[in-house]
């Protein structure tokens, strides 16, 4: 009985196969399986990091296409890839345990080839690299692309220095009372301190601190703190405060100089306008234009998403534009419901309340794109960074995440 059944099944399979082969008179050519590679990193590419999927995916914000991805090991909050143009490499700071979430911990930096996105190796670092919800300023590639600096929180604040040439950890520099790491040179970095100052450290080829200097306190860490999200033009770093004061720190001088000006008028302040979000600032270096997410709210809303992006000219210290954030809630819902952009899409735009964006990035080319996302929504929206015109939405960027990183 079993033999009869087997023969019958063979007849069906072979018979069907023969019939299929006879239908086409000139079959082929048949596909070969391949693997894509990336070309040189382009100005409109952006890394999108997802906390749930534990990966970062790179998108072309011009076409909306996803181009590739890298994974993140078990740390709770993935740190987005760091790009080295001169080495054509991406670096991802990770940590893992021997047995899932248990056992011996290993911290490491994975080195990826920038065109194949294949891992070329890893650099073991001490098990002290810190993590935060957004990991803003938790790692920095220093000038010249030779050194990588990682912020450590436990057991005490310090910064680990990694030599990317030899792929070795050099040493850690204590930075007690301060947090974050901001590149200020080939062998120097700065950090934000609880007394309202920034301290700069210089180190030697062994990773040992050789010098440090500090600004005078320029913000009040209790009454009007500045956000961790700093942006850089040459050797000047820019920060915004909870109340909307824009602070500039100039590391061309020693001690570094500072200056501050309000990005909010008195009338706007009375209306409750203030900065808010996660990665809430971005800068176009060529235009010297600062972009900041703004919303109306009271104290305790400094991480809330905002309905507007305000653009400031850093030379004149004037606001140049207020851009309205497109309704990403409606776009997301339309995507979930499988609706197109016709009448149903328009209807959703009218019905669904927009919650704004909490994450912003800008490309650095001559036709810059302003990239926006809301941590809670699976869509990224793209604006013309000079006019604020809504160019496109990119769906299915992940489940949740608060980082957008433009590698070039």
């Amino acid at each position: 009985m079993r033999r009869a059944l087997t023969s019958f099944l063979l007849f069906l399979v072979l018979g069907a196969g023969t019939a299929w082969a006879e239908e086409g008179s000139a079959p082929g050519p048949f596909d070969e399986l391949g693997t894509t590679v990336l070309g040189p990193t382009e100005p409109h590419w952006v890394w999108v990091t997802d906390i749930i999927f534990r990966h970062s995916q790179i998108f072309d914000a011009e076409s909306g296409r996803m181009l590739g991805s890298v994974d993140h090991a078990l740390g709770a909050f993935p740190r987005p890839p760091i790009f080295s143009s001169s080495r054509s490499e991406f670096y991802v700071v990770e940590a893992r345990y021997e047995w899932g979430y248990r056992g011996k911990r290993t911290d490491f930096v994975t080195v990826y080839d920038a065109t194949t996105l294949s891992a070329k190796g890893q650099i073991i670092v001490p098990t002290q690299s810190a993590e935060s919800a957004a990991n803003l300023a938790y790692s920095a590639l220093l000038d010249g692309n030779r050194s990588l600096a990682l912020f450590n929180q436990f057991p005490s604040q310090s910064v680990s220095i990694i030599d990317l040439e030899s792929r070795t950890f050099l040493d850690s520099i204590p930075t007690g009372g301060c947090a974050g790491v901001y590149a200020t040179g080939a062998q120097s970095f700065a950090t934000l301190c609880g007394d309202g100052s920034m301290q700069r450290f210089t180190f030697d080829s062994e990773g040992n601190a050789t010098d440090s200097d500090s600004t005078t306190p320029f913000f009040n860490a209790v009454e009007d703190p500045i956000m961790m999200n700093g942006v850089r033009i040459e050797n000047r770093w820019f920060f915004v405060s909870f109340a909307g004061v824009i602070h500039e720190v100039d590391f061309d001088h020693s001690p570094p100089g500072t200056r501050s000006w309000s990005g909010v008028s008195e009338a706007e302040r009375e209306e409750g306008w203030r900065p808010g979000g996660r990665q809430l600032t971005a800068v176009h270096r060529g235009l010297e234009r600062l972009y900041v997410m703004f919303h109306q709210g009271g104290s305790g809303t400094h991480k809330d998403p905002g309905p507007e992006v305000w653009a400031f000219d850093l030379t004149s210290r004037q606001r140049t534009s207020r851009f309205v954030v497109p309704n990403m809630d409606a776009t997301s819902l339309a995507g979930m419901l499988g609706l197109d952009g016709g009448f149903s899409g328009w209807l959703l735009q009218q019905l669904v309340p927009a919650t704004g964006a909490d994450t912003v990035a800008v490309t650095q080319d001559a036709t810059p794109l302003l990239l926006l996302r809301n941590s809670a929504l699976p869509v990224m929206t793209v604006l013309d960074a000079q006019t604020g015109a809504h160019l496109r939405d990119i769906p299915e960027i992940g489940l949740t995440g608060n980082r957008l990183v433009v590698p070039r």
Partner: protein
Amino acid sequence: MSRLDRWLEDSARGLARRSGRRSFLARVGRFSAGLIGASMVPVLPVARASNEPRRLPDEVEGPEGDPGSCEYWRHCAIDGFLCACCGGSATACPPGTSSSPVTWIGTCLNPADDQHYMISYNDCCGKGFCGRCSCNRNEGERPDYHWYRANDINWCGGASSQAYHCSVARVVGLASEQQPER
């Protein structure tokens, strides 16, 4: 109103609710932080604890009294999943997890007695995201350089496993003053 209309409206309202302050990201994860335990709290420069003997912490209850609610009075500066929804409670970690040895603090107003209390938000560590009752409130929360009030930091980094599971909200003292806010 048609069934489709009702469904669309419900979806829209639900999305709006989910996308507010306690957004999905917030629900998913940001979290917490932890300080060195209650013993260090009185020396902090802000929100100093009173030395006066007071009611035991767990005797303090709000009018709603639901530790599984984001609106619960103790949660004014929490960020993460509420352990009360994850097999633990407002003061205890769920089975198989361990509390972070260090934590961040908040100063929250208990509407029941109109007093400000210091809250220690210990993270519970060693398992992945609980994924339930996500809550992010930032009243008095400060950036990472003001670390003992920073709820962005993964305080499980100070535990034996940095895997973040959920957060508790322990009352550790009476605040002698309200936090300066802006």
